[in-house]
Symmetry: D2
Subunit: 341 residues, 4 copies
Amino acid sequence: MRIGVLTSGGDCPGLNAVIRSVVHRGTDVHGDEIIGIEDGFLGLIESRARPISHDDVTGLLTLGGTILGSARVQREKIRWAVENSAELAARLGIDALIAIGGEGTLTAAKLFSDAGLPVVGVPKTIDNDIDATDATFGFDTAVHVATEAIDRLKTTAESHQRVMVVELMGRHTGWITLTAGMAGGAHGILVPEKPFDIEAVARMIEDRFRRGKKFAIIAVAEGAQPLPGTLRFEHGEVDRFGHQTFGGIGTRLALELENLLGKEARPVILGHTQRGGTPTALDRVLATRFGWHAVEAVHQGAFGHFTALRHTEIHLTPIADGVVRLKTVPPDRWIESEAVL
Amino acid sequence: MRIGVLTSGGDCPGLNAVIRSVVHRGTDVHGDEIIGIEDGFLGLIESRARPISHDDVTGLLTLGGTILGSARVQREKIRWAVENSAELAARLGIDALIAIGGEGTLTAAKLFSDAGLPVVGVPKTIDNDIDATDATFGFDTAVHVATEAIDRLKTTAESHQRVMVVELMGRHTGWITLTAGMAGGAHGILVPEKPFDIEAVARMIEDRFRRGKKFAIIAVAEGAQPLPGTLRFEHGEVDRFGHQTFGGIGTRLALELENLLGKEARPVILGHTQRGGTPTALDRVLATRFGWHAVEAVHQGAFGHFTALRHTEIHLTPIADGVVRLKTVPPDRWIESEAVL
Amino acid sequence: MRIGVLTSGGDCPGLNAVIRSVVHRGTDVHGDEIIGIEDGFLGLIESRARPISHDDVTGLLTLGGTILGSARVQREKIRWAVENSAELAARLGIDALIAIGGEGTLTAAKLFSDAGLPVVGVPKTIDNDIDATDATFGFDTAVHVATEAIDRLKTTAESHQRVMVVELMGRHTGWITLTAGMAGGAHGILVPEKPFDIEAVARMIEDRFRRGKKFAIIAVAEGAQPLPGTLRFEHGEVDRFGHQTFGGIGTRLALELENLLGKEARPVILGHTQRGGTPTALDRVLATRFGWHAVEAVHQGAFGHFTALRHTEIHLTPIADGVVRLKTVPPDRWIESEAVL
Amino acid sequence: MRIGVLTSGGDCPGLNAVIRSVVHRGTDVHGDEIIGIEDGFLGLIESRARPISHDDVTGLLTLGGTILGSARVQREKIRWAVENSAELAARLGIDALIAIGGEGTLTAAKLFSDAGLPVVGVPKTIDNDIDATDATFGFDTAVHVATEAIDRLKTTAESHQRVMVVELMGRHTGWITLTAGMAGGAHGILVPEKPFDIEAVARMIEDRFRRGKKFAIIAVAEGAQPLPGTLRFEHGEVDRFGHQTFGGIGTRLALELENLLGKEARPVILGHTQRGGTPTALDRVLATRFGWHAVEAVHQGAFGHFTALRHTEIHLTPIADGVVRLKTVPPDRWIESEAVL
């Protein structure tokens, strides 16, 4: 068969490992030809693609990013592509497509499948927020990077008796922040699922200080929100330390805490370092297994399905079941962590 | 309550994180006193123990090893201890025990529980071979260390056109070797569950060379066995390169391949580096959650149970169910890896 | 002898390794008593100190930060302390002092030495800007952390065809930025020693794009300055992407480039992660050697001197010679790097 | 100009970074054509070479090994090549050669230069044993890998009250063992430069145990030698634990200590993991600078010279001066480390 493969949406460590695995399984075992489509659905629309051979994927297991590129495509363009999917597939000469991407990509994959371009999905999100799978690749790497940063911040916070606020990825869900926060031993963890009370955060830190501890680490997801009306400084306002409020929640939170506690608080924004670079061993294996099973799914005709991890096994799951709702951090996990405020 | 805690059996990254978590949850939330028992069941027998406070566990999240020590105890001594468990518990003044250990420890924990010393178990094995839990802490760290080593060996093997044999931990099961082998992109993976054919290994390597590849990496579990009668060199024999056969399967395999291929093959034995040092983020979180749930289990009276991960949640599981059989690498995973020979 | 030891100024990986080394050499070999003074010169002034034994320094080799704490002290207080140094030393019962710190600390150490409190200095700066020594501990660790971040950013920048601006430590000198920039293969390196032309930076990036490269990494020291009048956006101004100018040079530079290039540019601010955590092997060894030689210097009476690395050996150097001028990045190194713009 | 470049001798992290740097400087700045010669001097003899462009070196900064390959060549073949150097150069159409290699390569480079093939040398040795340069690339990476292993072994040794013997690279010099041993806090360091007294090692360990310490780490260079007649077990002999003496000094030393101390001692042999994989930041920068200066040397006609680091600058040094003698660990450093026995 001629199988197209594309990567869509934000960067995620392990994308290249999926591509490598698809090529290994497809070409070596099934005698498939694998066609790499450039820049996600944009390459499908514009017929930009190239065959990928076994040699082309040498070294991809450890390489972050995606050799196929990725681009955002407007919803109308996707709709147009779905309507013309048979012709687009014919132009590239592909019999089936493996689409690696997040919720949006899987939803689109379902539309293509229904419209006649047979697609198998591979879920991709560093946020770990797809409900039907126990895990997605990229998440462990993001947590690894964030945890290393918290480990490093701890000693410097302790030596200088400081409050450190680490802003981590996660607009809608707090998995990275919860997991890296627990792994790094953060004293406060703020997630989008639970609006935080800035005064409760300040009280927790003051309690620590009263018990003789000299520092505190707060891990905050970029999408975490204060309870309405509890932040004291407006954007652009200058506080008594001469610091101006600006930027994301991490920077704002540090400023608020500084003023509530009367004590230096510093923000650290890890940003894109969390989604680049060599994947962890766990993510490489998960990505490799997803790629293997995606090829098998194509040959079994399990279109409109995506690969999902349950316990330790990979299951093919109807896309419709996987994207119904976001997997958010449940209250059980807040209680268990003892640091979600 | 006064809760004893002990670590038993081989070293495993995350043991200290469990201890820390038990102390945090027990003392801060339930007002328990936590008594650290030294050197596993030996300390229970010899009444060597000390209270552990919140301050004592500072820094333990990232520290490998176990601050309580661990020692092997003869089976008869355990039997004696079980018979005298009420008195031993009374001497230490403990109401319940959290025993962190492998299959043997959990089995003993069950015996103690039945004999009247209420015990909750926390499973510990870097080998990941306990059936009732999706994962155990320490395993991910061992895989991480092994994968880093394979990553490093690859470039040197390639530059010098060499065969490298990496011997990894796993006497009875091949999980570390399978996982690190897949994560590192090893070309052959040899596990205890499937006796290997040395000539099949040699043929795979020769095939690679014929396709223009200049090196090969073989990951072999220390417990992997050749098919009977297929190794050509006896222990102590000297080959035509002047190399003597000795040591474990890694060293022997390198020598056999060297002679079958007429090409340099080098063994690397990672040994105890796999079970020491800072745990990965994943292992820290799993260990922390196990500790939290073990304390809850004590307060719920769920004795004779142990903490187990299923999907993403921790469940209390009867010890009797968990130690029935070893979780071995199933044939499905051999096929999927495409490298198990 | 009774030897006081203090750490002063900003945090720096390797401080604890110096303390450990001073204790090992002092107590084990010379039979000294080592007195740890808390919070730098503040502890000297307030007579806050405690003896440190061999057991107290267990585990310090790998621990970031400083167990003695560090605090900034106003210049007048230092002056007062110098005048009263004999009495302050008598209160703590110390015969000599080892002061670990940056340029300011060394200068103060000289004043104390001249006033009668015999002091040996150990230079400490992650910025690597002390002229009389080939290297200082902490610098290699900062470069290591920064390089890992650039490595990770590269793959994500490449996959998404983005410009990434990484702001690194260095207010007055560009050593960290130059070294991590070269190690990470940054395409542009901006250092405080050479005001940069924002349009030259933009042209370099456009040249890359014209040659088919799809991304660029710019490493910028926090103290780097644009040529006067070349930035187009005022603080607080909002650009056509809706982004507001705020924060340090990294954030501002990303915004300027975004507007000059018409292409997404993202800032990453590593901040305090660069100065915390476990020191690299190199820094541990340098710190250990400095500690050893500082104790020897005390016993040789080489007061008013500090430990300096030249080639591969440690030399005792008059403090007066070491703090004359800042070691800045010389033009030779700009040329050699080919990326300093 | 057309400049050949070859890598010769054992693998070393940073080789690819030199090649990348030569290509960047040569092609981008001087308009040179860079010809990559395969498998060291063998490729020169057999005229196996290919042009290397800017695109060919993408990604090489972080890649271990050498894309050019490396092979050992018999001395007579080198002699023949020297005699025929003009013709060999003509066949490849090269005007000059940059030879990256160890002592043997630099010596050969000198012979070629004298015979009319203009050669500039770049020193390469993970052992750090070339006298005329303060440092060579690859060494810091080897130390980094070895130190990480010792860090991991420490916690497992401590938990199980064990003696661990770590065998590190270094046949003739002990720099890796000294440096990683100090960085890892090894309690005994055994180097080739000083034959060790096995009973002194055992006494040091017994002293530790008497002071209440429960474990010991011994770092031993593969070339370290016992004082004559002090090992008790012959090769192949079986001790009372049923362990057989075999293998290198690490394995033998563990067995001897086990018998002298009556306590479990385990060897760990890191082997080739020390010379593979991604170079440290320091090694990448040094390799890059060496490559830059080698190209400059070619254009300045500084043939018969090699690049050497002195303090923080690169100097071109006559090859004759650089290979006179091995840089061994001097007694000053033994004393300073306090662990060399």
